[in-house]
């Protein structure tokens, strides 16, 4: 019973890699395709979500050690951090604060519920860290994951247009914006622009995540 969830996830993931290789649409990311495959299986066959989740739980547990490994890209791009520490630290603070403030104001305007707003808040940071933040501030983790994935796909595909409209030409700035706004999917897009943009993007992605976690801990402590 336990194995069903794990095997199904592996098969769906392999199928989604196959599809995304074949279709070559950059914003369709494997998480979305694989989730859709499994959801349709749950919907159309007697397999219940509980049975699936029994095995799926063990896959999600590996997310803990996964964050540790994020130190590797941070270490690999250390030289950029040294060269541009001022622009990068300002950019990260801008990214984190603009994301939190815009989500808070917009959700208030749209009259969204408190727990939906809390799940929306970490939408711009990388998924394993977003889950942590969601847990700290009291959001719903499953909703956060979906919001993060949608933000990544949307941000990465609209990024180049935003750079055109706001006349952002510097590669490091583009990379930072993609990393701060669209985390992993944005980083994949930034690598296509140039190596420099890719490195800046992965730095921004990780540092924004860490900053958001620390800020959320402080905010929760104060309140």
């Amino acid at each position: 019973m336990l194995l069903i969830g794990i095997i199904l996830t592996v098969l769906a993931y392999i199928a989604s890699l196959y599809f995304s290789k074949k279709i070559k649409v950059s914003f369709l990311n494997p998480i979305l395709i694989a989730s859709l495959i499994i959801v349709s299986i749950i919907h159309w066959t007697p397999l219940s979500h509980e049975t699936y989740a029994n095995g799926g739980e063990y896959i999600v547990k590996i997310l803990g050690p996964l964050v540790v490994v994020l130190a590797v890209p941070l270490y690999n791009n250390k030289h950029i951090l040294k060269k541009y520490y001022k622009p990068i630290s300002v950019g990260i603070l801008t990214g984190v604060i603009s994301s939190a403030v815009s989500v808070a104001i917009l959700s208030r305007l749209m009259r969204l519920d408190m727990d939906i707003m809390l799940s929306l808040l970490p939408k711009s940071i990388t998924t394993p860290m977003a889950i942590e933040v969601s847990g700290i501030i009291g959001g719903i983790k499953e909703l956060t994951v979906v919001f993060v994935v949608i933000t990544g796909m949307f941000g990465a595909s609209i990024g180049p247009l935003v750079f055109d409209v706001f006349k952002i030409r510097n590669d490091t700035a583009k990379g930072m914006a993609l990393g701060a706004g669209a985390h992993g999917v944005g980083t994949a897009k930034a690598v296509e622009i140039s190596d420099q943009a890719g490195a800046a993007s992965s730095l921004a992605m990780i540092l924004c995540g860490v900053t958001t976690i620390i800020l959320s801990v402080i905010v929760i402590k104060i309140l």
């Binding site: 499994i38 959801v39 990214g95 939906i116 994935v149 935003v162 701060a180």
Partner: protein, 171 residues
């Protein structure tokens, strides 16, 4: 060609039992090929097995020490254990105690296939969709407007600061 092949196979695998093993073997080969082509992982590694176990042990060790530290300081301040673990690994890489080569295979594999570990959470959305069904348009508006705002603000400010810095360097 198929006839010849069949004879060969039948010679090699005379009984039904061994034919079954042949089938399994073939399936294994096909699976290996598919996995290798899609995920770029060689599942045939023999000598490297110990190395990969070592890599996993290093990462797990750092993760659990991060959890331990997080537990110890939780009275003062809550920081998630895996973030502390990330800090420890970054520190160890900088001091050269752990080298990139020590964790190369496992880390590149995990970073490349990060998406895989989120699939169960994405599926759980199916159960939760009823919660957001009445407000999903509003949520979409929030997501879209906010991510455009974040990218424009971050990009513009970073560019201004970088141009400033480069000007200083020139003069």
């Amino acid at each position: 060609m198929p006839q010849k092949n069949r004879e060969k196979i039948e010679k090699k695998y005379k009984t039904l039992d061994s034919r079954f093993y042949y089938f399994i073997e073939k399936c294994g080969d096909i699976c290996n090929e598919i996995i290798y082509n899609l995920i770029n992982v060689n599942t045939d590694i023999e000598g490297d097995k110990m190395k990969i176990i070592k890599e996993i042990l290093i990462i797990l060790g750092i993760y659990y020490s991060g959890l331990l530290i997080s537990d110890l300081i939780s009275g003062l301040f809550f920081i998630p254990g895996n973030i502390i673990g990330m800090g420890i690994l970054f520190f160890l890489l900088n001091t050269g105690i752990v080298k990139i080569d020590h964790i190369k295979h496992t880390s590149s594999f995990l970073l490349k296939h990060m998406g895989f570990f989120f699939i169960p959470l994405g599926v759980a959305f199916y159960v939760l969709f009823d919660v957001i069904r009445p407000v999903w348009i509003q949520i979409f508006v929030v997501l879209i407007v906010s991510s455009i705002f974040v990218m424009a603000a971050t990009g513009k400010i970073v560019e201004l600061f970088i141009l400033n810095e480069d000007k200083k360097e020139v003069s």
